[in-house]
Amino acid sequence: MAERIGRVMAQVAMVMNLDKCIGCHTCSVTCKQAWTNRSGVEYVWFNNVETRPGQGYPRGYQDQERWKGGWRRTATGRLVPRAGGRLRKLATIFANPVMPAIQDYYEPWTYDYENLVAAPLGDDMPVAPPRSLISGEPMAITWSANWDDDLGGGEELGVHDPIVRRLGEQVRFSFEQAFMFYLPRICEHCLNPSCVASCPSGAMYKRAEDGIVLVDQDRCRGWRMCVTGCPYKKVYFNHKTGKAEKCTMCYPRVEVGLPTVCSETCVGRLRYLGVVLYDVDRVGAAAAVPDEHDLYPAQLDLLLDPADPEVAAAARRDGIPDRWIDAARRSPVYALAVQHRVALPLHPEFRTLPMVWYIPPLSPVVDTLTGTGHDGEDAGNLFGAIETLRIPVAYLAELFTAGDPAPVTAVLRRLAAMRAHMRRVNLGQERDPSIAAAVGMDGDTIEELYRLLAIAKYDDRYVIPTAYGVDDADRGAVEEVACSLDFEGGPGMGGMGGRPPFGEASGRPDPVGVETFHALRARQTSDVRARGGPRRTNLLNWDGNGRPDGLFPPRDGARDRREDA
């Protein structure tokens, strides 16, 4: 039956559990520090956290009537980019008709700190006035990437949320009736990426090995069509280099088995990374199903069951390494999206088959229940409330299932059942099999889901096979290939008598990280032996013992002696 399965590809995908997001923006800030702390991308957040309901970043990006992102299904059942097909793209190449302006994101700024020390003597405390990073002129700060955080300006600004507008007058922003949750967003690394399809230069591509969508910086010519093509507005234009940039899924980290920076630093531990296998021959058909409500099931149907021996055989046939198939079997993403059916794609109606999945939040329901004095952990109460609280469910359905409330309700009922079931377990009460049965699960699978959502450890949340064929035991610490004489005190240690037992230079070498990846690679592939040279020493890590390399600048004589030895 192997002919039933088309070409198999692997995808590194993510799940985010929205109930756990506290909106701390740690993911955004660490991502910014790692990737977009440069001029030209001051306004760019590869990862952002937006409050829903809210306008998001850039403002109102979900409104594809306006921004023309994603795909459009023609009357004949074909898919064309909503902003236009190939000819139309070329005809409008001299000025993109629907490109967001910098003001749709926000105008980045800095502060004139010099004024703090250079202001003339006066009665008032000098301040550092804001300066635009775009024009350099003084500016008034009126918007930023998170201006409507925590429903800031809810009544005035929340009504501009495209989903709120579609739902009409139902969503209220008054304090008593408001609900909100946080939506962290990165690039979706779609199976059917419309940004890639929009790139006239062919500079954007989806990597065959891991599905990560990247921009080739040497081939990008700055036509800006990808910015329009992406319905999530997660491709950005670097206005200094004139090239497109986007979330890279931290590929230098993922390649060596480390989670992305946003996942690694997530305070709520709400992100999961894993491999899914999919049938690339069926991608086009799945993205083009006529009814938008069928897009979510069609997307689920693309994902292949890695436990199926036929799938494994087909994957092997298509050159996927065994350790990737093994990782796919242990994938938390496959477990949450397919086995437990609790993770949903963001805006499937854009027809890009996004690969960052979300577990919708039960918290609006629970909050309403407990706020009205009911027991928020009772299965009956929760099930009833999910049916009754139409507005949060309708809102979530617009986000995750193209407006179909049934899958959202099913997920929320499962989460509610897990909550009620585990309360009984924690209180030492007898398990009530009817709770699990009401959502089509049993006690064991519910507890399995609970373990995955509540207590999964680092290695359970991030199941990332490495790209370079090293053994899985090396995950996270692909060490520098060293000389076999480099043992403690050995002749390969440069005659320095081995590593000092204490201080920064003691212990095992640092694992590969984003910070050291390129330096390490350059050193490993270089013909010449790395010079000692001045090294940086982090005094915060120095315990006062020993003398790490680089603590003092080398004396000229000392370096010569070392080379003689």
Binding site: F94, A95, I134, S135, G202, K206, R221, R224
Partner: protein, 250 residues
């Protein structure tokens, strides 16, 4: 110290300079492509300002495409061919002049709008380099000189003194350059506006590889013929095992 004979100046301008420019143009482009792929971009400023750009940029670029097609027509197609095809000389000139004037005015209007936008929109102006300014000056000069040739020829034709036909002078020289037989005498016989336009044009081509103009070479025609979604395998890293050893003597 007597001035050099005019034929030497003509020889240098129309016999030597074109090949110097050609060498700079080709060599510079190859060099730029090899060593500055990252800098090879339109350097769009649409993120800063869209309203004026959406009028000015298509006006300029589409005008320029017609201008280029017109140049190809006028320079590459010998006069004998159109005559053999039965196109009367007068009709040819009327069409060429009208089309050329319309396209030229569009191009000039577009570039004027773009330069004005560049000067008056703060962020766009601060993103403008000295290289850009030089390029814009030469580009505008080339368009102005080109329009001048068109208008002067049209004026001469209308006044009934259409003695000079560029298809007997400039075009003959231009075709000759490509077959290594530059007809210096033919070009020398052209009128002053044509000389100025040709020189500014040569300057523009000499600058071309070193400015943002290189994005013209990246016209994404291949987009029409490729599948929408592009898959690529990861670049193979050079490793010790697979990297070819390079020896100093080989």
């Amino acid at each position: 110290m007597s001035a050099p004979p005019p034929d030497l100046v003509d020889l240098l301008l129309w016999g030597v300079l074109p090949y110097v420019v050609l060498a700079v143009f080709v060599g510079g482009t190859v060099w730029r492509y090899r060593y500055d792929k990252f800098g090879w971009t339109t350097r769009s400023s649409q993120l800063y300002e869209s309203r004026l750009l959406r009028v000015g940029s298509p006006l300029f670029h589409f005008g320029l495409l017609v201008v280029i097609a017109g140049h190809a027509m006028g320079l590459l197609v010998p006069k004998g061919w159109t005559e053999a095809a039965g196109v009367p000389d007068a009709a040819y000139h009327v069409v060429a002049l009208v089309l050329g004037a319309v396209a030229g005015v569009c191009t000039l209007g577009g570039v004027a709008l773009l330069v004005w936008r560049r000067r008056t929109t703060g962020p766009v102006f601060s993103a403008t380099t000295r290289n850009d300014k030089l390029m814009y000056a030469v580009l505008v000069l080339a368009i102005l000189a080109g329009l001048a040739t068109t208008l002067v020829s049209a004026g001469a034709d209308l006044a009934g003194r259409g003695g000079h036909d560029y298809r007997d002078t400039v075009s003959v020289w231009f075709r000759g350059v490509w077959v290594l037989d530059p007809r210096v005498d033919a070009m020398a016989a052209a009128t002053l506006p044509f000389h100025v336009h040709a020189l500014v044009g040569l300057a523009l081509f000499a600058l071309f590889p070193f400015t943002r103009l290189v994005h013209a070479f990246s016209a994404p025609v291949g987009y029409l013929f490729r599948p929408y979604v592009v898959y690529r395998t990861r670049d193979r890293l050079p490793t010790r095992a697979t990297r070819p050893a390079r020896r100093g003597w080989s």
